[in-house]
């Protein structure tokens, strides 16, 4: 580690502060900025404990209260950052306060902070790509950002304290300060621990490139590529290509952009996005597919590469480059990503060729997950991400009270929802979480992201005994107790799916119709009978006329019968 950092001599200095690796470099600004990184984030949690890192962050900042100081905390997938800008004294006070709080979290605030986090989440509405992680990774590690912070319901002081003691340690942290020297008076004493590597990624996509259906107006692509200088250049080239093809050339999109974000030490997530008007979204999808194909084919202008390269090289010419580069070097150190000197980075940038970009484009496509509005994109060679589980479990069968074709199975190995298009299964041995309501409702989510909701009111025979069996089978760490629901929030079965139009109002209309037409048919039938009898007794019966009136009666009789049948169907 030290030898790696020696590469940065002349850019920044390094030392340790209370055992925490510390990077620092001077700035010409009047105030200094500091950041304390911990190698823990949402991807380290489970679905049942989701939000625990965020809770620690909030609790650690609570004692700072309201002040004019410019500070904040951030919880990302693989790290938590506490950062501050101010005078040397203010920075010291902030960092000392954060570490003091981490040593002894204000647990009296726990319930309040849990509620604050739940409120924050309710106001946060997911962005257009918020579903992508769960489809790629399932309901674990990097997929958890798609989910609510379930732990904000159930976590106890013991859980939170343990998390802080084991994750927020001096050995799992990196400090950076934009200053020529480490300020006096810092007390960053934290427990000993170990540097935890970023969690390994799971996959919920058996085949890539894959696609999912999403909301109107948005096309999103994500792909995981190896971290490289070429890939950072590629993200910029992709963003410019999308902007050119979808906005400037076609006018199908307003926004069209791409982003490169390191995921862990080895991999980064490429994200590309374009919006569209509903009537143009077919063209946005088509244009998106074609732009990616063009980059895969290597049809990238050298001038494009050159201008992206020039833009990236400019970042090395900023004043106070050392100070500006501190967060990125600190994060590399934290994640265990290779450290390159600015000269090495520049040399790598200079060496990137169009052929390198084409190679990244091919890798990006091979691993792509595309979210499209409207119709699917199997025509472009993508495979729909799994919509159903591979298999169902066996157990007690509970038909849906709403839909004849749907059955819930509660078994010894898991639960399955059997639907006409396939089963959805959550196995107890591959479970991320189960929410538990006092009224008996249970929502189970598997590692693969599939979920089954057991509502005793909506399925036949889901007795308290069956719920007890379920509770006994689920690993205790997966259970998330939730508060009682208001009685009107407990679902009641809707009318049978087989008779979707059934309602009192429509039945009385049908009855009225039946009576009106039926009466007419009866009267006309009677008239026909009278005419028939009359003619039959006549000297020269006019049989043509008799047949004629009966023929006119037929449609009336037919409509009456049809109305009768339709009404009976609606009544179910």
């Amino acid at each position: 580690m030290t030898t790696e950092l020696d590469l940065l001599d002349g850019v920044l200095s390094h030392t340790t502060t209370d055992g925490i690796p510390t990077l620092y470099a001077p700035t010409s600004a009047s105030e200094i900025t500091a950041g304390l990184f911990f190698r823990v984030g949402r991807a380290d949690e489970t679905l049942a404990t989701a939000g625990i890192t965020h809770l620690v962050e909030h609790l650690a900042l609570h004692r700072l209260g309201l002040s004019d100081l410019h500070y904040n905390g951030a919880t990302a997938n693989t790290y938590t950052l506490f950062h501050v800008t101010g005078s040397e004294e203010e920075v010291v006070r902030y960092l000392n306060s954060v570490c003091a709080a981490l040593r002894d979290l204000p647990m009296d605030r726990l319930e309040t902070e849990k509620e604050i986090l739940r409120t924050e989440a309710a106001g946060r509405g997911g962005g257009p790509n918020h579903q992508m992680p769960l489809w790629r990774y399932g309901a674990q590690n990097y997929g958890l950002t798609s989910y609510n912070e379930l732990g904000t319901w159930s976590l106890t002081a013991g859980h939170v304290r343990h998390w802080a003691e084991t994750r927020f340690t001096r050995d799992n942290a990196v400090l950076w300060i934009t200053s020529g020297q480490v300020p006096e008076g810092l007390d960053l004493t934290l427990p000993h621990g170990t540097r935890l590597p970023a969690p390994a990624a799971t996959s919920a996509l058996p085949v890539t490139p894959a696609y999912i259906h999403g909301d109107d107006g948005h096309v999103v692509l994500t792909s995981v590529v190896r971290r490289s200088t070429a890939a950072t250049v590629f993200a910029d080239v992709l963003g410019r290509a999308l902007f050119q093809d979808l906005r400037q050339e076609g006018g199908y999109s307003y926004s069209a952009e791409a982003d490169y974000t390191p995921r862990d030490a080895e991999y980064a997530t490429l994200t590309a996005y374009a919006d569209s008007l509903p009537q143009k979204q077919d063209a946005v999808v088509g244009g998106f597919v074609d732009t990616l194909a063009r980059l895969r084919a290597g049809r990238i202008e050298q001038s494009e590469l050159d201008s992206v390269r020039a833009k990236l090289l400019k970042m090395y010419d900023v004043p106070d480059f050392g100070a500006a580069s501190l967060p990125s070097y600190a994060l590399s150190l934290l994640l265990g990503h290779r450290i390159l000197s600015p000269e090495q980075r520049r040399a790598e940038l200079d060496a990137v060729t169009v052929a390198d970009l084409r190679e990244v484009a091919r890798q990006a496509w091979a691993d792509a997950l595309l979210q499209v509005p409207g119709r699917g994109v199997d025509w472009a060679g993508l495979t729909l991400a799994p919509q159903y589980s591979q298999e169902a479990v066996t157990g007690t069968r509970h038909p849906s009270l709403e839909d004849d074709k749907v059955t819930l199975v509660i078994g010894a190995e898991g639960v399955s929802l059997l639907t006409p298009r396939g089963p959805v299964t959550v196995r107890y041995d591959a479970m991320s979480a189960m929410t538990v309501r006092p009224d008996g409702a249970r929502a189970l989510t598997g590692h693969d992201g599939f979920s089954v909701t057991v509502e005793p009111t909506l399925y036949k025979g889901v007795t308290p005994e069956r719920i007890a069996a379920l509770d006994a089978a689920v690993p205790p760490t997966a259970a998330v107790p939730m508060p009682a629901r208001e009685p009107d929030r407990i679902p009641q079965p809707r009318k049978r799916a087989a008779a979707p139009a059934a309602s009192g109002r429509s039945t009385w209309l049908w009855t009225l119709g039946l009576w009106a037409v039926g009466l007419l048919a009866a009267v006309w039938g009677l008239l026909c009978a009278v005419i028939t009898a009359d003619e039959a007794s006549a000297a020269n019966p006019e049989w043509d006329a008799v047949v004629g009136v009966w023929i006119m009666w037929l449609p009336l009789a037919a409509v009456t019968a049809a109305l009768y049948r339709a009404r009976r169907r609606r009544r179910g």
Binding site: Y252, Q279, D282, A283, G286, D290, A293, W379, A380, G381
Partner: protein, 318 residues
């Protein structure tokens, strides 16, 4: 252009066969049937316009069994756009033959499945080809067919046409394909269909074939109407004037230089004027055509051959 010879007409009747109408294409058929890729390639090398290349790709793709020759050529010449474009269009033809030209409600789910499978196969070849060679007209033209068959939507079809027309602004075959897309039967509208036809006619240089799109749009519209309403539509003065104007700026314009698409263009005008009873207006088109009839649009009648002869007689009085 020996169409004025009455004797030839009465003895042979109309020829709906593409190769009879355009004998220059016969060497292509011969080369394809003898599975001689070099001869096929040589034929294409001798063509002097993008329109001809595009038409010849369609001809090649229309020959039964050429997929085997084309699959080999794709493997042997991975950098050449021609075999890939022709193979993709061949796949489209195979798929469409399974689907049949019936309206969607008469096509079975299994037929649709197989149809879409062929079209996806074609589309994936074409995505790569268009990415590599964005100016290659036959590939974009075939992508208008896959877009329609796979129901990728009006905006996507139009995008494909726009990408093509950025390089080849008045590509007749592509215009004919997009016209189908913008008709109501493929989720378009009459407003869009006539609008696109007018756009093609007015934007193209005088004497090009594109004016025939106006006639093709009116024929499609006529086909959708029933009985007397249909006849009244093409008899109407506004439609007649529209057709006259389109004919005059296109195939009847002094600058018009007949090419492989002119037979289809003249047939469209001859058909539309004749159904509307405007035989005098149909006359110059029949005079150009002689015996050279095209399946489209005459296949829209129950007896194309007799109908062609009857109308030509009414028009030319022979």
């Amino acid at each position: 252009m020996s169409g004025t010879s009455g004797r030839a007409r009465s003895s042979n009747g109309p020829t709906f066969d593409l190769f009879d109408n355009t004998p220059e294409l016969i060497p292509l058929r011969t080369a394809a049937r003898s599975e001689d890729w070099n001869a096929v390639r040589a034929f294409f090398s001798g063509l002097d316009s993008v329109d001809k290349v595009s038409s010849a790709v369609a001809v090649l793709a229309g020959i039964d069994g050429t997929e085997f020759l084309l699959e080999r050529a794709v493997a042997d010449h991975p950098g050449d756009p021609l075999p890939r474009a022709a193979l993709a269009e061949r796949y489209v033809r195979i798929g469409w033959a399974i689907r049949s030209s019936a309206r969607a409600q008469y096509v079975s789910a299994d037929q649709f499945d197989r149809f879409h499978t062929w079209l996806r196969k074609a589309e994936q070849l074409l995505i790569e080809l268009c990415a590599e060679q964005p100016a290659y007209a036959p590939a974009w033209t075939a992508r208008l067919m896959t877009a329609r068959g796979l129901q990728l939507g009006q905006a996507e079809a139009r995008r494909r046409y726009d990408r093509l027309s950025a390089h080849h602004p008045h590509h007749y075959r592509a215009q004919v394909q997009l016209l189908q897309q913008v008709c109501p039967k493929w989720s378009g509208s009459w407003e869009a269909a006539h609008g696109f036809a007018r756009e093609c006619a007015t934007a193209s240089p005088d004497g090009s074939n594109s004016g025939a799109l106006v006639a093709l749009a009116h024929i499609e519209h006529w086909l959708e109407l029933d009985g007397p309403e249909a006849t009244a539509y093409l008899r109407g003065i506004p439609v007649r004037d529209d057709l006259r104007n389109a004919a005059q700026i296109s195939v009847l314009h002094p600058d018009h230089r007949p090419d492989w698409n002119s037979v289809g263009a003249h047939n469209a005008f001859a058909f539309a004027f004749s159904i509307g009873g405007h035989f005098q207006d149909a006359a110059p088109h029949f005079a150009f055509l002689g015996d050279r009839a095209s399946e489209d649009p005459w296949d829209y009648t129950s007896d194309p051959r007799t109908t062609f002869l009857k109308y030509r007689k009414s028009a030319l009085g022979a």
